[in-house]
């Protein structure tokens, strides 16, 4: 195993652990810090791949991804966190143990589901691909089991980080223009969610999504 492959495995490991830690920790401030760590790991994956495949363009992408996912997006989330206790998940749909167990099952599922893509190109990068898919699935889990607006944003960010990781590991990223557009859209979507959660808090008194019960048939 080359040194590059070891660095890649390390970065992917941190990337996955950060996602599991988001499932474990429930307050928004901790989630924002963990997402920043995950953003750094994602940028590291791009740097290692750039060195490995002699693809200098990837360094620029890594810098952009690092700034967006490790600084800007977690920053937006952190600024939304108030000292008030209401941002903590107090009545989760699933307790911590069950969520962690579910995450473990999702990781196994990701390894099975990603098999065709790993088979397509049997490099060390492709072998790490299931990690990206696992983070996507964990992001979906967080999205559907959390009740607070800010936790849902965290789930959405996990989902997007996972997809970006898959894009890097599978084919060294999508075309630069597409990557730029995707990042810009992601940034705007998170800003929109942030503004909406602020307005929800202003008019509902809290950003607890369980209070969103006015619209039904």
């Amino acid at each position: 195993m080359s040194a590059d492959a070891e660095w890649l495995d390390l970065a992917c490991g941190v990337f996955l652990l950060a996602a599991v830690a988001v499932v474990w920790r429930r307050d928004a401030a901790a989630n924002a810090r963990l997402l920043a760590v995950q953003g750094v790991a994602l940028a590291a994956i791009a740097v290692v791949l750039g060195a490995d495949q002699h693809h200098p363009e990837l360094y620029a992408v890594a810098a952009g991804v690092g700034v967006l996912r490790a600084v800007i997006l977690p920053g937006i989330l952190r600024r939304a966190v108030t000292a008030r206790a209401e941002d903590r998940e107090s009545r989760p749909l699933m307790n911590v143990g069950a969520s962690l167990l579910a995450s473990a099952v999702l990781v196994l599922l990701a390894y099975t589901a990603a098999a065709p893509m790993v088979r397509l190109e049997n490099t060390s990068a492709a072998r790490a691909l299931p990690v990206g898919l696992a983070v996507v699935l964990i992001g979906l889990l967080v999205l559907v089991t959390r009740r607070k607006a800010l936790s849902q944003i965290a789930g959405f960010l996990l989902l997007d980080n996972g997809i970006t990781a898959i894009a890097f590991l599978a084919a060294a990223g999508v075309p630069l223009l597409v990557e730029l557009g995707v990042s810009f859209d992601l940034l705007l979507a998170v800003l929109v969610l942030r503004v909406l959660s602020n307005r929800l808090r202003a008019s509902f008194g809290s950003a607890d999504l369980d209070d969103l019960r006015e619209l039904h048939d």
Binding site: M117, D160, A170, A171, V178, G181, V182, L215
Partner: protein, 486 residues
């Protein structure tokens, strides 16, 4: 000249949006959005003529592309855009609580919405189309929450979260498709290009392609209001301002459907028709089932129209599942008919809300007597949506059923027709209660529909009936567009 045809529908609305941001919503700028929609429509017609004469046009080294399907969708954006934008001033005038700032924002966002949809259909590259379609979510989030009420904010939140998640899943599919394409020796710029992908579909790894197609259909299906990620639709369509609902239902859903058509055009040659047929049939029937059940117990007429959108999108998904040229031409005619009828229905529902101050079906009674013009327009739009002749939805539903039986999908079509019947009975019942049901019968006081507001609605209904009698003016475009780029 060709490049100008690509630039105009993108730049005109962006300029108009800048105008609103700079000058605000005033007498002089009130109709800028309508003018923008007219520019898009004129551009689309020119594009359609050129494409039919000379074949598909590429621009910006393949990033932009116009084929018959593009021209057809762009004509839809222009037409529905005209109806919706011309209803904007009346909508803003009827809501006294609007501030200068919210009017300005409304004008700018409507124009950006038109620009994003135009970009979505003009893209020649799946990545660019994805960006444009995600942009429509971002732009419309604030339009859905425009009124700022609790219910509107709730709808906007659900809309943004569900659609962004759905479209993120489509991105995952896109990444997988890109991976498969790179391994089929397509270069970086061609690997997401529709023409290149369709041409090299056979070389794509089938196992990876299967996963990619499932995620892409799920993701773009979310934007088209298809099961399982449909939950945002009834809330968003009922809470958004009426002109926005008209645009979202009449064109945004079909723009997502057009992406689904392009994806099946890539998937079918490589995987056989069976795979996408199964997925789309399940999604279509599921959507129809949920819409039909929700229509039965509906008490809110805007939600009724929203579920009717789901009903028609479910039917269109089943048409996409059939996938034969006849079925695709039928669903395109259905998209045109549904778009026109739903634009009129939502716009007139907005006028009903403005005069009756309620969205409850039970509290609106005897509309046909009390407000004959408004009631008549609303009734005609409902009849069109129910599939009555002479309106074109009758013809397209008939053609769709025939195409289904030809393709040996009798069981799916039979189930769909049964669900349509349930939806029909429910909507006919609700509509009759609103229009004819008891209550006071004296003509209502208050403002009647002014001539400039009536005109686009009545024109749309006349066009809808004309299309039902003969699709001649657009029949060549329909059959060519049904080839999806081929």
């Amino acid at each position: 000249m060709n490049t100008a045809l690509f630039i105009a529908p993108l730049v005109a609305p962006i300029l108009a949006a800048a105008l609103y941001l700079g000058l605000g919503w005033r007498r002089a700028t009130a109709h800028a959005a309508t003018a923008t929609a007219a520019v898009i429509l004129a551009d689309a017609v020119t594009l359609a003529v050129r494409v039919l004469r000379h074949g598909p046009i590429d621009a910006a080294s393949g990033w932009l592309r116009a084929d018959a399907l593009t021209a057809f969708m762009l004509i839809g954006i222009g037409t529905i855009g005209l109806i919706a934008a011309s209803a904007g001033p009346a909508y803003l005038a009827s809501h006294g609580a609007e501030t200068e700032r919210s009017r300005r924002r409304y004008g700018a966002l409507i124009c950006l919405f038109l620009a994003a949809m135009s970009a979505g259909v003009l893209a020649g590259n799946l990545g660019l189309a994805w960006i444009a379609i995600e942009a429509t979510t971002i732009v419309t989030a604030f339009l859905v929450g425009h009124t700022g009420s609790r219910t509107a904010l709730e709808a906007a939140w659900k809309y943004t979260v569900v659609c962004s998640t759905g479209i993120a899943l489509a991105l995952l599919g896109l990444v997988m498709l890109y991976d498969a394409a790179r391994h089929a020796n397509l270069n970086e710029t061609n690997a997401l290009n529709y023409t290149a992908l369709t041409a090299h579909a056979q070389a794509l790894d089938p196992a990876v392609l299967r996963m990619a197609v499932a995620f892409l259909l799920l993701g773009f299906g979310a934007k088209a209001g298809l099961v399982p990620l449909h939950s945002w639709l009834p809330d968003a369509h009922s809470q958004a301002p009426a002109p926005v609902s008209a645009l979202m239902s009449g064109v945004l859903l079909p723009v997502a459907i057009s992406q689904i058509l392009r994806i099946t055009a890539i998937a079918n040659p490589a995987l056989g028709t069976g795979y996408s047929r199964t997925l789309l049939s399940v999604m279509g029937l599921g959507t129809l089932l949920i819409a039909a059940l929700a229509l039965i117990r509906q008490r809110d007429y805007k939600r009724m129209l929203a579920y009717s959108s789901m009903e028609h999108m479910g039917l269109i998904a089943i048409g996409a599942a059939i996938g034969t040229p006849l079925a695709l031409a039928a669903i395109l005619l259905h998209i045109a008919g549904h778009g026109l009828a739903k634009a009129v229905a939502f716009t007139s529902a907005g006028h009903i809300l403005a005069t009756e101050h309620t969205t409850s079906i039970d509290r609106v009674a005897n509309l046909a007597h009390r407000r004959p013009v408004l009631g008549g327009i609303f009734a005609a739009a409902l009849l069109a949506l129910l599939g009555f002749p002479p309106f074109s939805l009758f013809a397209s539903e008939l053609a769709l059923a025939r195409a289904g039986f030809d393709a040996h999908l009798g069981l799916v079509i039979a189930a769909a027709l049964l669900l349509l019947l349930v939806a029909f009975a429910a909507m006919a019942n609700h509509g009759a209660r609103m229009l004819l049901g008891g209550g006071e019968s004296a003509p209502a006081s208050g403002p009647t529909l002014s001539i400039p507001t009536r005109f686009p609605l009545i024109t749309a209904l006349v066009v809808l009936a004309a299309l039902g009698i003969t699709a001649y003016p657009i029949s060549t475009l329909l059959t060519t567009a049904a080839g999806v780029g081929r």
